[in-house]
Amino acid sequence: MRFFNMMVGVVCALAIGASAAQAPAADPVKVGAVLSLTGSASSLGDPELKTLEMMVDQTNRAGGLLGRLVELVHYDDGSEPGKANVLAKRLIEDDKVDMLIGGTTTGASMAMYPLIERAQIPFISLAGALVIVEPVKRWMFKPAHHDRMVGQRVMLDMKARGYTSIAMLSDTSGFGQSARKEMLNVAQKVGITVAVDETFNPKDTDVTTQLAKIKNTPGVQALFVVTFGQGAVVVTKNIAQLGIELPHYETSGVATREYIRLAGPAAEGVRLPAPVLMVAADLPDSDPQKKLSVDYVREYESRYQTDVSSFGAYARDAWHIWVNAVTQARSVDKAKVRDFIENTTGLPGTSGMINMSPQDHLGLDISALKIVTVRNGKFAIAD
């Protein structure tokens, strides 16, 4: 063991001598993450953790950050916001992390926020709801479009295609209910009537009852399903079963190839707003988002032998926002890093070009959300 340490020391000394680079200092930079790795939101939290672990390895292989290695400390909140609160306290007080990523769910992120503000530590939430960034919370940022934007994007597409009366089917999770509220607001603003507004439990094994109601409501021109994961698969299969011919919209929550694989042919023709990640190969080479998206997909899929999802991509963007800020700040000082995160400008990510400001802790506009559709078992840019 001692021999091994000595060898490491010798190698390090040689490396320093050769490159005159800073040697990784003794204590690493610590990033804390509270994610939902089990429970109802685990299908979101799992790719987030996988991505973060991959990012840490990438950063360390490239020489770390500010010459220090980066260490990820992560805990599972079991999809219970109450637990997220304790774990955030643990990361801040006991593990003494330099920044926090996470809150897979909005409930968890909001439950953690009072502590974040007290501890004054930069926090990038991976959750979906508008409330994360509006009103602006000084220490909390968000790398992915919120549910109101997703709703706006869908409703704009519906308007453009001439649908004015639609049916909505949302799940009863936090994701579904927060999104439902926003979607109803947006619909009213753009002049779309929500003729049927149904809900279902994401654990339901059969949703044909709600769908039959929608099918039999006269005048409905399109169907908007607000959910993610397993629930979306069940709904999609049930739609095919009932032979519902309405144009079928989903949210960005189903932008994963796993959805297409599990739902099978029933997923054909589904339209959804998605980060460009899913269709990155189809983008022109000049698009700044293309290379990084393609790279992320390739590395993730070869490392884990599993499909990427938009949730993992959010974690990727969160990581880059933070690394970018730390690099500019030349320090992990919490207040400085926060300021630089807030000043992120022109940073390309999988969700779009990120331009944050003191008034906008999201920094994305709606144009970065592309409407994609499932064609021949693959996501493709619609129209």
């Binding site: 089990t38 009852t209 299969k237």
Partner: protein
């Protein structure tokens, strides 16, 4: 309006058949041992997961299904031998905690061994829906209904015609007396766990193509099964059948005609009302207090 109602009923029956299988498992164990097995939902999950995993690994579908059910049966028997039998003389509350512990172990092991992602089985006979008076039903739903009917039939033959089945019944009436007339009570109890795991797993396997299955699908189905079993009367076979189908129908009709937001509350409100009016469940025998 009629096709709509028919669609609600078909949906409710499929759901109900699933609840029924879960409830039958509860009742069987309750009958034989007086234990409410909170790991019942996990048996459903284990069956579905094992079959999906084997099928994905290239095992032919029928074989994968049978193997999935057998694995769950084995797990059921092991659970009884290793966790429940050693605590036979413990209080009811302690045994409830044991079954909760078992469900955590099964859920955790499945997560570690098979991952967290949902799995699906191929549909047994195609995905083309069948039309019925303006409503549609998946061939797979017919499989669910048929599996439910076969199991009910099989159980009634088992209890009515076979020696070991009668032994189980005898044990449920009076454990000591059964022992005295030569029933191997130990074996009967292990068997009842294995059998109820098999029943649950059949449900898990036939529903997996429709709903997909993941390591955490068991709890909700288990809870609904408990509700169904209580509605019908704990320990009553016909009660479990009736309770399961009734619960499925009521849930579908509530979602259809009243409020889909509150449909999950309906089973619990219902069981509340039924218990207040008829404390032994709809088809249960009136309990007597032992002094």
């Amino acid at each position: 309006m009629l096709p709509e109602l028919l669609q609600f009923i078909l949906s409710g029956m499929t759901l109900g058949a699933m609840y029924m299988l879960s409830a039958l498992g509860f009742s069987m164990i309750y009958n034989a041992s007086g234990v409410i097995n909170f790991a019942q939902g996990e048996f459903i999950m284990v069956g579905g997961m094992a079959a999906s995993f084997l099928s994905a690994a290239g095992v032919p579908l029928p074989l994968a299904c049978v193997a999935g059910v057998m694995i769950a049966g084995l797990v059921g028997g092991l659970v009884e031998r290793m966790a429940v039998a050693p605590a036979r003389d413990a209080e009811v509350a302690s045994i409830i905690i044991i079954t909760i512990g078992v469900s955590m172990i099964l859920r955790g092991l499945t997560e570690i061994l098979l991952g967290k992602r949902p799995h699906a089985l191929p549909h047994f006979s195609g995905e083309a829906p069948l039309a019925l008076l303006g409503a549609t039903i998946l061939p797979q739903s017919l499989w669910v209904l048929a599996a439910g009917a076969l199991i009910v039939l099989g159980l009634s033959l088992f209890f009515g015609r076979t020696r070991i089945g009668k032994g189980v019944l005898a044990t449920s009436y009076d454990r000591l007396a059964a022992q005295l007339v030569g029933v191997d009570v130990r074996r009967v109890l292990t068997l009842s766990f294995a059998l109820s795991a098999v029943i649950g797993a059949v449900g898990g396997v036939v529903i997996a193509p429709i709903s997909t299955v993941a390591y955490d699908t068991g709890m909700m189905l288990g809870l609904k099964g408990f509700v169904a079993a209580t509605l019908g009367g704990l320990g009553s076979g016909p009660g479990a059948v009736f309770g399961g189908l009734f619960l499925g129908l009521i849930e579908a009709l509530t979602a259809g005609y009243v409020s889909s937001a509150y449909k999950d509350a309906v089973p619990f409100v219902l069981v509340f009302i039924v218990l207040v009016l008829r404390p032994q469940g709809l088809l249960g025998a009136k309990p007597t207090d032992r002094i």
